[in-house]
């Protein structure tokens, strides 16, 4: 039996957010590719410099990449932002859940119908997992759908502890640390 069902905590990723009336303009000036539709995502940069930009609603942005990524460091740095650009401190816990039966695992903790999604449109889903607000980006991969999840760090233990026995029940593993 292959153990390709994995719950992986991504602890080498950094993230930050921006909102405000001039956030779009400023982030574009920083060289980021911004998704145009609310609740969708886009990728900027290549390989190790790759960052994902999720548009939450109309005017809030969530940016995540490897710690040390040049653009992430630059936009998240402490320098004063122009007026109308409001940095949002994001200390989210990031994890990935993927592999065989991943949809069965999610079905036990989340009422969202992932099967109905058009993945080509790069959707971002804000929903509840085990009654806790999360941000989910589903991505296609060779083993079916791969879900990237971010949640408030103060709920991380609760969510991971709740997911772990379900993942194990479906023959998967929980990797505490993971380098991507």
């Amino acid at each position: 039996m292959t153990h390709d069902l994995v719950l992986q905590v991504l602890d080498k990723r950094g993230c930050c957010g921006f909102k405000g009336p001039r956030a779009v303009e400023w982030l574009r000036d920083q060289g980021l590719l911004l998704p145009t539709q609310p609740n969708s995502w886009a990728i900027s940069g290549k390989n190790l410099e790759e960052v994902i930009v999720a548009r939450l609603g109309a005017s809030e942005f969530f940016i995540e990449g490897m710690v040390g990524t040049e653009i992430l460091e630059r936009v998240a740095s402490n320098t004063v932002k122009p007026s109308g650009v409001y940095p949002v401190l994001r200390e989210d816990c990031a994890f990935v859940i993927s592999g065989t039966n991943v949809d069965e695992v999610l079905a036990q903790v989340c009422s969202f119908n992932f099967a109905d999604l058009a993945l080509a449109a790069n959707p971002v889903i804000m929903t509840l997992v085990m009654d806790v607000a999360v941000l989910i980006v589903p991505q296609e991969s060779s083993v079916g759908c791969r879900y990237r999840v971010w949640c408030d760090p103060t709920f991380a233990r609760y969510i991971l502890d709740g997911l772990e026995p379900i993942v194990i029940e479906y023959g998967g593993v929980h990797r505490e640390t993971y380098y991507e």
Partner: protein
């Protein structure tokens, strides 16, 4: 479980939402009488019918307005929250 169609997040079960009460317009606090103010603060209309209501999609913190028929529990339309400043004054019951 009831589905509610969030203008931002699409159809979601009602457990993902928080109810914010009926959209009501306060009387001018400086011009109204104590009785008028008391009526605004404490009395709610329980009569059935179509009502504009505040709803918040909890996972995204997105507030919007739903026009709901409280007799049938059917949501007739939803609007972004800006509607309370732009369109609501035109349609609200006097």
């Amino acid at each position: 479980m009831k589905l509610l169609v969030c203008p931002l997040n699409g159809p979601r079960p009602v457990t993902e939402f928080a109810y914010g009460g009926e959209v009501r317009v306060s009387p001018d606090p400086d011009a109204c009488s104590d009785a008028e103010w008391g009526n605004y603060v404490f009395n709610r209309s329980g009569s059935p019918g179509q009502k504009y209501e505040w709803w918040c999609h909890a996972a995204s913190g997105f507030w919007f307005i739903a026009l709901r028929d409280t007799t049938t529990d059917l949501v007739i339309a939803t609007y972004p929250a800006e509607f309370v400043q732009t369109g609501f004054s035109r349609v609200r019951p006097q």
